[in-house]
């Protein structure tokens, strides 16, 4: 027994990603066609030449037919997967394992979400019949409980912490402003964010991810086949997933300053990839900044900072585009937007662009080098105390 990973056995050879935003004129079909089409074009393949598909959507449709119909697939295995906000990452994980096993030669992972058709604010869970005793709190409110708990535990002045959280949003907006595919392309200052009215705990709407429609796609093959499709593949170093058991909600020892599922997931991923010093070895990270306190805690849970120090590192600019370890150089969920089923693949799309040197110059990371060419993506679903966590590590060269 063990989690062994598939280090360097599978390569991403093409990707696609739509602009994220309010696509009033496009349905999920259109978005799927755009993202899958871009990926297929990149590898010079037709849809019929892909052997198997994994479609990630949290609640925009059901079954593999949601993808088979717009792509006109005939006789293809298509599986719809769902793992809350980590759905897109889960699609990639399944596709990668499928080619790694030898069952298929070429597989595609596609993620899509059509959120803006609901007519409501924020994300809304698919209603499942229950006894009526479950929480009806928004995700923003659940994550808002992290901030006061963190301030209390580490003795951080709440005003100082407020600035650190605003700095997270401001940084991600700065990066997103340099990303033509991002939903929000306007820079926002720390002062502007701090002046916003609170909507959940101390969080304002500027502490929350953008709610967007969008789709993203990746084509994967066994590493030895990669050169048939591209001269610059991305090698999968690690794929890790942890589904929490919800004990944080009922365990009095849980204090809302960490996400234990993420810690376990990161440990597993680093072991698979052989990473021992993530802050130094990674060239960049895309993390699940659904709310600003989430990114704060992730900097510690992913091992980028010692406990209780991330707020300071954020204020010091460690994770800025030109910082020691750029985090969310594409703008993150905050600025790029969060179409649930697509977000995990969107993160990998940024790693694809950056590690291949294709990111627009305005947001190109400066950390990349011959001995520093790994990217991490982190994607989570759920809430403090009960979440699923996904971590991937990708590299531009095999070991």
């Amino acid at each position: 027994m063990g989690s062994h990973g598939i280090r360097d056995r599978v390569a991403i050879v093409a990707m696609g990603c739509t602009r994220f935003g309010e696509h009033w004129d496009k349905g999920a079909d259109d978005l799927l066609l755009d993202a899958a089409g871009e990926a297929l074009a990149g590898a010079e393949l037709t849809a019929a030449e892909v052997d198997a598909y994994w479609l990630g959507t949290a609640q925009s449709g059901m079954s593999g037919m949601m993808l088979a119909k717009p792509l006109g697939l005939e006789g293809k295995p298509v599986t719809r997967v769902e793992n809350m906000c980590a759905t897109g990452s889960e699609a990639l994980r399944q596709a990668a394992y499928a080619v790694s096993s030898g069952a298929y030669d070429v597989a595609m992972a596609v993620g899509v979400e059509k959120v803006k058709d609901s007519g409501y604010q924020g994300l809304n869970a698919f209603p499942i019949p229950t006894d009526g005793t479950n929480r009806t709190l928004t995700a923003a409110a659940m994550f808002s409980m992290v901030a006061p708990a963190y301030a209390e535990r580490y003795g951080v002045d709440p005003a100082e912490l407020r600035r650190a959280l605003a700095r997270v949003a401001s940084k991600n907006h700065y990066n997103g402003a340099r990303n033509p595919k991002a939903q929000f392309r306007r820079e926002v200052s720390v002062e502007q964010i701090c002046a916003m009215a609170a909507v959940a705990g101390e969080l304002s709407v500027f502490d929350c991810a953008g709610v967007a429609d969008g789709a993203a796609a990746a084509l994967v093959v066994r590493a030895e086949d990669a050169e048939r499709y591209t001269d610059r593949p991305l090698f999968i170093k690690a794929l890790s997933l942890v589904a929490g058991n919800g004990s944080g909600l009922t365990d009095p020892s849980y204090d809302y300053t960490t996400f234990p599922e993420v810690v376990r997931c990161a440990e597993d991923a680093y072991r698979q990839a052989g990473v021992t010093d993530p802050r130094a070895q990674l060239a960049m990270a895309e993390v699940h900044d659904c709310f600003t306190p989430t990114e704060l805690v992730l900097m510690e849970d992913l091992g980028f900072c010692e406990r209780g120090t991330a707020w300071k590192a954020i204020l010091d600019g460690v994770f800025d585009l030109d910082g020691e370890l750029p985090v969310n150089p594409d703008g993150g969920l905050k600025s790029f937007g969060h179409p649930v089923g697509a977000s995990g693949l969107r993160m990998i799309y940024e790693a694809w662009l950056q590690l291949r040197g294709e990111a627009p110059e305005a947001r190109r990371i400066a950390t990349l080098g011959a001995d520093r060419n790994l990217a991490l993506t982190h994607n989570l679903g759920g809430y403090p105390g009960e979440m699923v966590s996904f971590v991937s590590i990708l590299g531009s060269t095999p070991d």
Binding site: P129, D131, T133, T138, A141, M145, V199, T250
Partner: protein
């Protein structure tokens, strides 16, 4: 032959919602009506069922309850018994019968009469939610609240032999019934209508006099042997006139006026509410007559027993009267559904599943968690645990909290906290009866049975946490 077991009142408890409306604010909005003092207002998440649970929670210990009678003029459901939800929230055994006696204020006296004649102690609980058109007398004079009585055969108090002794023995009962129209309300309508009050006054005074005479005769007492009298009814003028006709003078106990000023007339709950407040104030060996004017008249004669001297009501009526939080007119109207407010741009919650709720009745209605062999408490209960763990009486401390201004709520914002319970167990749970600006980490809370929301006509009942209310205990309040 053993002597007849004394029957009467074995325990009592009351519940008044924390919110108060200032009657003086009414005329500014409605252009008429109002008056002095305050009335109680059930919160948006309370109904007659939840208030009945609150009143009854503290009175059951030591009683072998055989039946539950729930009286109200404002049942949360028609065509479905409401007493079953009360039964479930109180954790009563399946063998305990539960009945609604709903429709009119007089239902409360019918329930009391049925309970007094029961073979085993009966829980007789009444709750009401009184509304009226803005500016009306009912709006100003009405109040929301609940009262619970355990009645029936008393014992010696020896737990090995029989039940608790009577606090007040029922000596006699008198009724007078007549068909006449004083107030009425078609099913589904929110507000009652009333006839010109002099007509009802004449009928009520006559009927009240008859019931009084019958009750004293059946008790074998004369009027001068009565120490305290309580006269209640929706027709305030008739109650005053009857008291004068009966020449009650100082025997008309002053708690009646005190509750009218600070609480209002709580409909079906009012007879037991005033009786409970009176029993809190008097000692053993006193003869009390409760007269209720409602579509006729009912009078019950009681003599307080020695056990009353040591009885502690869970939270005395008059303590609750003084512990109120002001609520504005607009918010009150919104809570009652008379002033629909723009909802958040979030989907309304779906209706709870009858089947799923049916599987978790102990948790949903009774707030019963579970406990493993190490004593770790799980909320909601874990299917892996060997034992249930009742938690409705547990107190706890707020570990962290948030105020959600985006989530759907019948009365935004949602105030939500992570609560660690004394003796184990943690639950992230909604808070109620709190000022969002006044919540702090470390605040102490207790659980309260509430209606979370209503969807497809289904009331979603569950528990919330609220600040611990002051209790009179051995150390005083």
């Amino acid at each position: 032959m053993t002597p007849a077991t004394p029957r009467g009142i074995l325990a009592y408890g009351t519940y008044l919602p924390v919110h108060r409306r200032d009657r003086a604010a009414i005329s500014a909005v409605a252009g008429k009506g109002g008056g002095q003092g305050t009335r109680t207002v059930a919160s948006y998440d309370e109904d007659t069922t939840t208030m009945a649970v609150e009143a009854a929670r503290g009175v059951l210990a030591g009683h072998d309850i055989g039946s539950l009678w729930f009286a109200t003029t404002a049942p949360a459901y028609a065509d479905k018994t409401n007493a079953t939800a009360i039964h479930a929230a109180l954790g009563l055994a399946p063998e305990v019968a539960a009945f609604d006696v709903a429709g009119a204020v007089r239902s409360a006296m019918g329930a009391l009469r049925a309970g007094l004649h029961s073979a085993r102690p009966a829980l007789v609980v009444a709750a009401d939610l009184r509304t009226g058109l803005p500016g009306s007398g009912d709006e100003a004079a009405g109040g929301d609240g609940a009262a619970a009585l355990v009645v029936g055969p008393g014992g010696t108090g020896d737990p090995g032999r029989d039940g608790r002794p009577v606090l007040a023995q029922a000596l006699g009962w008198g009724s007078a019934t007549a068909e006449f129209l004083d107030r009425w309300r078609a099913p589904g309508e929110q507000h009652a209508k009333v006839w010109e009050e002099r007509f009802g006054e004449g009928r009520y005074v006559d009927l009240g006099q008859r019931a009084w005479d019958h009750a004293l005769a059946s008790a074998g007492l004369t009027a001068d042997q009565v120490d305290h009298v309580i006269v209640v009814g929706a027709h305030a003028r008739a109650t005053t006139t009857l008291a004068r006709k009966l020449d009650l003078g100082a025997r008309l106990h002053p708690v009646g006026a005190e509750l009218a000023a600070g609480v209002g007339f709580t409909g079906a709950a009012h007879p037991a509410l005033v009786l409970a407040a009176t029993l809190d104030e008097i000692g053993p060996g006193q003869v009390v007559v409760l007269v209720t004017l409602a579509d006729g008249a009912d009078a019950v004669v009681l003599r307080t027993g020695e056990a009353l001297a040591s009885y502690c009501s869970p939270v005395p009526d008059l303590d609750q009267v003084g512990a109120g939080a002001a609520v504005g007119y607009g918010r009150y109207l919104a809570w009652r559904g008379f002033l629909p407010v723009d909802p958040p741009r979030r989907p309304e919650p779906g209706r709870p599943s009858a089947a799923a709720a049916g599987r978790s009745t102990e948790w949903k209605f009774g707030f019963v968690g579970s406990e493993d062999d190490a004593g770790t408490v799980h909320l909601p209960p874990s299917p892996l645990d060997p034992r249930p763990r009742p938690m409705s009486g547990a107190t706890g401390t707020i570990v962290t909290f948030t105020v959600d201004r985006m989530a759907y709520s019948p009365s935004p914002p949602v105030v939500f906290a992570v609560v660690d319970f004394d003796g184990g167990g943690r639950l992230p749970v909604e808070l109620t009866d709190v000022d969002p600006a006044a919540v702090h980490i470390g605040d102490r809370v207790e659980m309260t049975f509430r209606r979370l929301y209503t969807a497809d006509g289904i009331h979603n009942y569950f528990w919330k946490a609220r600040p611990i209310r002051s209790r009179v205990t051995g150390e005083g309040s």
